[in-house]
């Protein structure tokens, strides 16, 4: 719902008012063309969203008579420590899903630009690969990589760092970081792709001018490439932050929120509340809070990266 409009906002430049009014015939013609998409959008996005809002005011098990409880479910979201912790966990994930990948993506983009276009497509494929694999498969593969006798620990043993080896996903202090790094691995390639393609449209005369003024490669990157990538960085930050806050599948298959609730995220708890605990209203309230949280984050990111005209 709200995400859809964000999406549109990310892509189009500016909303332009109609310059002239349409004749009635053309008006209805236009409606007819828009109607199929609009109906589907209303039925499968807008209506469920409002329905969720309605459910969030109910005490309901999904089948029997529902009871109207107003904002009681929202009060629970903010007072139950389990729910509050899950929001904190997802904020930690924002660092690993958004901040680190953008930094890596910029680094990789800078390096790839410097080396010319030789082998470029191979690098793109390699770094973009994590985006193509379904997250469920990614999760299972990483669960094995992180396992007690898994490749990561074996590698540590081989290079003589056996003392560092640990069952990464089983430790309350390592599990969330381990999960976050999976996100970093997955998102870095996406950010790099965005930045590389964005950098290609920067006017090369700017680089020449900077070079003539005596700017080295680092200075050229900071003063020319970075400002030129403002839009792409903004998009990357929005995409990755949404992925972090709404993460579910990765957590579900790797740790199920464990060990000892150290990796619970709001998406996982929405699922549990709705389908295990049968507290539909409570689940809907948490989903709404999550949506609002995502909206706030996205608005802040868009504001921070807005180009000053």
């Amino acid at each position: 719902m709200a995400l859809l409009s964000l999406r549109a906002e990310g892509r189009t430049t500016k909303w332009r008012p109609a310059t002239r009014s349409l004749s009635p015939r053309r008006y209805f013609g236009a409606i007819a063309f828009v109607a199929p998409a609009l109906l589907i959008y209303l039925a499968f996005s807008i209506w469920p969203a409002f329905n969720t809002l309605y459910y969030s005011m109910l005490d309901w098990d999904g089948l029997n008579v529902a009871e109207w409880v107003g904002f009681e479910n929202y009060a629970k979201v903010f007072t139950e420590p389990e729910l509050f912790n899950s929001i904190l966990h997802s904020l930690v994930l924002v660092f690993f899903f958004a901040v680190l990948p953008i930094a890596f993506g910029l680094l990789l983009a800078g390096l790839l630009m410097g080396s010319g276009t030789r082998g470029m497509s191979a690098f793109r494929v390699i770094y973009f690969l994590p985006q193509v694999i379904p997250l469920v498969a990614v999760g299972i593969a990483w669960r094995w990589l992180y396992a007690e006798n898994g490749p990561l620990n074996e590698f540590l043993e081989t290079i003589g760092l056996g003392a560092l080896a640990a069952p990464w996903l089983a430790g309350t202090d390592t599990a969330l970081i381990a999960l976050g790094l999976v996100g970093t691995w997955g998102m870095s390639g996406l950010c790099m792709m965005l930045f590389v393609s964005g950098a290609q449209k920067i006017d090369s005369s700017l680089y020449e001018a900077a070079a003539m003024d005596g700017a080295g490669p680092i200075r050229r990157f900071v003063s020319v490439t970075l400002p030129g990538l403002r839009g792409e960085i903004s998009i990357a930050a929005v995409i990755t932050t949404i992925a972090a806050l709404s993460s579910f599948d990765l957590v579900y298959v790797t740790t199920s929120g464990g060990p000892e609730s150290a990796t619970t995220v709001p998406g996982l708890l929405v699922y549990r509340l709705a389908f295990t605990y049968e507290r539909i209203g409570h689940a809907a309230a948490l989903a709404i809070v999550l949506t609002v949280l995502i909206l706030i984050f996205v608005s802040v990111i868009r504001r921070l990266t807005k180009e000053k005209a």
């Binding site: 969720t52 985006q131 929005v238 579910f248």
Partner: protein, 434 residues
């Protein structure tokens, strides 16, 4: 790309929530009292919805062989989705005639009046005399489905699932262990023997249910099973706090973890990983249920052994966690008499051989081959029925208890939670639901 995933996720979530209905009433069909044990000779097709392929396949095939005019329309749904879709299926106008009973969703389906109480049929067929009462406990409840073990009967089991200790004979033989343990102390000695050979003895998939099932199995032999079942069934005033056995069971899990009988990272081990650990010989023992028997015996063949977790003394009556694979009749079914005849068949002797051949434990005990693991199941089940009976699964106690159970036992294993605090958190969840 990722944004689309998030977008689709958000839509799926809202649609899924919306799909749960429109927060209204469900029409309660009237219950007819006229029941008949006569089977029609007209052709009837029963719609049957279930989550696990076994043991339903031999049961429907066997029934159709006896009564060719009755055929089945089978709808299989993977277990996790089954739990969530059962409510929708039962409230639809096109509801199946027979559904596999699952305690979690039935908590709301029973109060909605969508499941047929089977008491009239039970009387007409004499079912309560034919099935071990410990199997019927969780299938019997009051109308609000808040208290189990008494009230109306809502389902009948077609086969038995039971938790016990699987072991890899190649591993135990290599460690010099020849006999199955007769007491818990002997089992602990065996674990130490395997450990001394350099093999971590126990596979424990504590990522999901494996951790608390180990606690449940130990509780069966260390605490009073009657206290446990009354607690799971929600009898008013039931508590785990007064019987020290439950805490002792949790302390034993901790002791085994500290002794290196299980790996350090068990909290990240999933069920499929544990199966691989046992079958590849990295572990000697795996406490699990016979729902995993097919996969385990396909990989280990005759090297797979099974015994119920032994008691503290050799003479202690055998108890094992378990349940039936139960089936219920929809209150909306138009073929209730035929469906009841099918339920009567599945608990009977005629169905037993087919269930046994499929690797499951039939309701009516039959002679099994003790050299094969399915024969060991039947033998263990007989001992349990003759002893202390089948004990219910801990996660049936409330709809939310699975999380304090899973996370709690992970805390006990890591040492972040004392056994006492674990038991207290279970009791607290239980009391919050009463």
């Amino acid at each position: 790309m990722k944004r689309n995933v998030a977008l689709v996720g958000a839509i799926v979530l809202t649609v899924a929530l919306a799909g749960c209905g429109t927060g209204g009433k469900s029409d309660k069909p009237s219950e007819s009292s006229a029941v008949s044990t006569e089977l029609t000779d007209k052709p009837v097709k029963l719609k049957l919805s279930y989550a696990s392929e076994q043991p339903i396949t031999p049961l429907v095939e066997g029934f159709t062989k006896l009564h060719p005019n009755i055929t089945f329309d089978l709808i299989e749904t993977p277990f996790a989705d089954y739990q969530t879709s059962l409510k929708l299926a039962m409230s639809s106008n096109d509801s199946p005639d027979i559904v596999q009973y699952s305690p979690a969703p039935m908590r709301s389906i029973v109060p909605a009046g969508l499941v047929l109480p089977l008491d009239d049929y039970a009387k007409a067929y004499g079912w309560r005399d034919q099935v071990s009462p410990s199997l019927l406990g969780i299938l019997t409840s009051n109308k609000d489905a808040t208290q189990y073990g008494s009230g109306s009967l809502y389902a009948l089991p077609g086969a038995v699932q039971m938790v016990g200790v699987f072991y890899n004979k190649a591993v135990t033989k290599a460690a010099g262990i020849t006999d199955e343990p007769k007491t818990l102390a002997e089992f602990e000695d065996d674990l130490a023997t395997v450990k001394a050979k350099g093999v971590t003895p126990l596979a424990v998939p504590a990522l999901a249910t494996g951790g608390f099932q180990l606690w449940g199995a130990l509780s069966n032999v260390m605490a009073d099973p009657k206290v446990f079942s009354s607690w799971v069934y929600g009898e008013p005033g039931a508590t785990l706090l007064n019987d020290p056995g439950f805490e002792k069971a949790a302390a034993t899990v901790k002791k085994w973890a500290d002794s290196g009988y299980m790996a350090k990272g068990v909290s990240a081990v999933a069920d499929p990983d544990a199966i691989t650990e046992l079958t590849s010989g990295q572990r000697g023992y795996f406490l699990s249920g016979n729902w995993n028997a097919k996969e385990l015996s396909e990989k280990l063949g005759d090297d797979l052994g099974f015994f119920p977790l032994p008691g503290q003394t050799a003479g202690q009556p055998a108890v094992a966690t378990g349940s039936g694979f139960p089936y219920s009749i929809s209150a909306k079914s138009k073929n209730k008499d035929v469906a009841a005849a099918f339920l009567n068949y599945i608990i009977g002797e005629k169905a037993a051989q087919g269930v046994y051949d499929g690797g499951f434990i039939p309701i009516q005990p039959i002679e099994g081959d003790p050299a094969k693991v399915k024969g060991e199941f039947v033998g263990a089940y007989k001992a349990v029925v003759a002893g202390g009976g089948i004990s219910p699964f801990a996660n049936w106690a409330t709809s939310s208890i699975i999380d304090p159970l899973t996370a709690g036992i992970q805390g006990v294993i890591s040492g972040n939670k004392t056994p006492r605090a674990f038991i207290e958190s279970l009791q607290a969840d239980w009391e919050s639901k009463r």
